[in-house]
């Protein structure tokens, strides 16, 4: 989400980097562009002013002027200020000491409350091993209660049976009762979307809060929200006393200034990020990582974690050894392809790499075809185990059979084999040079994919 901001600040600060000494007017010039970049990123005006003033105060002065690389210094100051504004440490959702505890989900229409409720329920169930009950208090939008019920079935989480005609406060009471009698740890209350300027509906949700006395009141907000984020955040916070924010659609290309705005105006931590339509697409928020991403430093920590989660360390070691000797076979390649897909495809991975955010537009234009990974997997799956171990036996008629079997063409099979051979040869060379270390992570250059672009 913050990629565009990264690009913009990257441009501005790259210019600074190229200069030897940093003058006051350089800082001023850079900050003007930082300001516009932040505004284009939908950071609310008052927050932008604050941020720019803070950076300026820190930047113009002894430490910067005397530092050896002034550009880097400014990058760090902007980074630190962003982290500061986004909030210190990543905080997770509070869990009840005395179950059942309620979590109240509130927000504007269409911000993603119902989907987020189901995601959070699944997360609490799987990660924290909590017994979770969901209840929809949305009696306004047609089929909203039905939607939560279906999501509950998908997530394997219980939902409160719908009683037609009940008002939200009654449903909340019934949900808490069901939570107590059913031995639930957490009761998630999904409310109807409402405008923060709608007095009647704000009164209603305040009454729900009083009835359920939630442990957490989470504002669900769309990452694409504009300047109004400050008004929305403030109104909900003033009225309900929020305990946290969930930012949704972070997998879009919105610059996500709303994150900065809402955090600044409510003082509430951003607790979770929605990063996809699937129910497991909910991530913890880490201000330092996001700030790093804003500045084009790449979300390396996330990448490392993602790899660690998906790739078995032992397998990676084994593979690295094989690679170094040039002994990798097509089984290993298939495994690599599968892992790439598991980690969200090439574009998902590349977005996390330092320096790549800047090139994302070019990459999009270059049309990295995610289906290539799938097709290559299909080709390998159409080979016999023998062929996978010894690709050199695959002659013309076998190629024809593989192409037919995988629904691809002979040239595609040829291409895969050729790339595989080249890769193996190259790895052998690298292995001989003793650079085994670089392969530990399990990332050989993939056939059909452009190599990682160099930074700077």
């Amino acid at each position: 989400m913050f990629d565009s901001l990264t690009t913009r600040l990257g441009d501005v600060l790259d210019r600074l980097k190229r200069r030897g000494a940093l003058k006051e007017q350089d800082v001023e010039a850079a900050l003007r562009e930082v300001r516009v970049a932040l505004l284009e990123a939908d950071v609310a005006l008052p927050v932008v002013r604050d941020l720019v003033a803070k950076v300026k105060e820190k930047a113009i002065g002894r430490e910067v002027l005397k530092s050896i690389t002034p550009g880097q210094m400014v990058v760090k100051i902007v980074h630190d200020t962003l982290v500061e504004t986004l909030g210190g440490e990543g905080e997770d959702v509070m869990l009840p000491a005395d179950p059942p505890g309620a979590i109240l989900m509130v927000g504007l229409q269409g911000s993603g409350k119902t989907t987020t409720t189901a995601k959070l329920a699944l997360r609490l169930k799987d990660r924290e091993h909590k017994k979770v009950l969901m209840a929809s208090l949305d009696v306004a939008r047609p089929a909203a209660q039905e939607q939560l019920k279906i999501l509950g079935e998908q997530a394997g989480v219980a939902t409160l049976p719908v009683v037609a005609g009940q008002r939200p406060v009654e449903i909340a009471r019934r949900a808490m009762e069901a939570g107590r009698f059913g031995g639930y740890d957490v009761v998630l209350l999904d409310t109807a979307g409402r405008l923060h300027v709608d007095e009647a509906l704000m009164d209603e949700v305040a009454a729900v809060r009083d009835a359920a006395m939630p442990l957490e009141t989470l504002l669900v907000a769309d990452a694409m929200t504009g300047q109004d984020a400050v008004n929305v955040g403030k109104a909900f916070h003033d009225r309900l006393g929020l305990t946290g924010i969930v930012l949704t659609r972070v997998d879009g290309d919105a610059r996500g200034g709303a994150a900065l705005s809402m955090r600044a105006v409510t003082g509430c931590p951003i607790k979770l990020l929605g990063v996809g339509e699937k129910l497991d697409a909910l991530e913890a928020f880490h201000p330092d990582r996001i700030a790093g991403r804003i500045l084009g430093m790449g979300d390396v920590v996330s990448l490392v974690e993602k790899v660690a989660e998906t790739v078995e360390a032992e397998d990676a070691e084994k593979l690295a050894a094989k690679l170094a000797k040039g002994e990798m076979d097509l089984n290993d390649l298939a495994e690599q392809l599968r892992q790439i897909r598991k980690m969200g495809g090439m574009s998902g991975l590349m977005g996390l790499l330092p320096g790549v955010a800047k090139m994302k537009n070019q990459l999009a234009q270059a049309n990295i075809d995610e289906s290539i990974v799938k097709r290559q997997e299909a080709i390998i799956q159409s080979m016999t185990p023998h062929e996978r171990r010894r690709p050199q036996v695959i002659q013309a008629s076998r190629r024809r059979r593989i192409a037919t079997g995988s629904g691809t063409t002979v040239p595609e099979v040829n291409k895969l084999l050729k790339q595989f051979m080249t890769m193996n040869k190259m790895m052998k060379k690298v292995g001989k040079m003793g650079k085994k270390g670089m392969l530990r992570g399990g990332f050989p250059p993939m056939p059909g994919m452009p190599g990682m672009p160099p930074r700077f």
Partner: protein, 308 residues
């Protein structure tokens, strides 16, 4: 809810934030002379309404060109700005026109998640039914849980048949069936709902393109209209949304929803300048009658906190 005209409600909604704008402008012009600082302040006032830094600078610049260093009242500046904005928006204020020769006139409704596509279709269906048209609805959001049920309820409310398939079905196939059915029934309008999708997801965008493609097998001119639904709360990302969706499908109009909140949808000004896509309607509430034609003048005046 009722009893108040939609214009009144729109203005009431707009005034919530335009009050801020008015306050902003008034405070900017306490010194009465339009100097550099005042222009900058004016720019920020527009930015706070989501107009965007570039367009805000341009609008403020126009005011500066004609009135720099002159004594001006806040009211006059407001009026001047409103007429600038109205001039930009007037050419794009065009309601949906149904081609009576088409049986049916196909309208494909698209947009990112949560902008209000299904609700907008429900409202459109109601308005067209009230207009005496035979309307068929296609529940093309086969992805989101209960989206089909949601549209069915709207279909019941407006008395329009809803063509649906179970969740998870192919939406292009459903669209094809729906068009066939609408043709058989000699319907005037077919409204096709689609699942919300983020515009940066290439595969989901390709799926949308496929919906349009299969429709052409039955009617080479279909869809006659392709409406992009935008949430007024959205900031500058709306530009990216329009630009990306437009690459995939010929967008013939915009519908702006949730204008009854305090978000002003100032990004519409930037959109009108950049893409000149007609704004077909605005959503100002959750009721069936809360979809209204877009009135450039009222919008601009409301935005600047002036009486209509």
């Amino acid at each position: 809810m009722s009893g108040q005209g939609w214009l009144g409600r729109l203005r009431a909604g707009l005034s919530k934030s335009s009050n801020r704008i008015v306050d902003g402008i008034s405070s900017v012009f306490t010194r009465r002379k339009l100097d550099e600082e005042a222009i900058e302040g004016l720019e920020e006032v527009l930015i706070a309404a989501d107009v965007g830094p570039a367009t805000a600078a341009k609008l403020a610049g126009k005011i500066a060109d004609t009135r720099f260093e002159k004594d001006v009242t806040p009211e006059a500046v407001r009026r001047a700005l409103a007429s600038e904005i109205a001039a930009i928006l007037a050419p794009v204020a065009k309601p949906v026109g149904i081609d009576p020769a088409k049986k049916p006139h196909v309208i494909l409704v698209i947009g990112v998640n949560g902008t209000g596509k299904t609700t907008t279709i429900g409202k459109l269906a109601k308005a067209m039914r009230d207009d005496g048209k035979r309307v068929v609805l296609a529940a093309g959001d086969t992805f989101r849980a209960a989206a089909v049920e949601q549209l069915k309820i709207w279909g019941e409310r407006s008395g329009c048949p809803v063509i649906s398939r179970p969740q998870g079905a192919d939406s292009a196939g459903l669209a094809y069936d729906a068009l066939q059915q609408a043709q058989r029934d000699n319907a005037d309008v077919l409204l096709i709902d689609t699942a919300g999708r983020l515009h940066n997801k290439a595969n989901l965008m390709a799926e949308l393109e496929k919906v349009a493609r299969v429709l052409k097998k039955l009617d080479p001119e279909a869809p006659q209209d392709c409406l992009l639904v935008l949430d007024a709360t959205t900031g500058q990302n709306a530009l990216s949304q329009v630009s990306t969706f437009r690459e995939m499908l010929p967008i013939t109009g915009l519908v702006v929803t949730k204008l009854d909140g305090s978000a002003k949808g100032g990004v519409l000004v930037a959109l009108a300048e950049k893409f000149a896509i007609p704004i077909r309607a605005v959503g100002v509430g959750e009721g069936a009658d809360d979809l209204k034609p877009f009135d450039a003048d009222a919008f601009a005046r409301g935005l600047m906190g002036l009486e209509a």
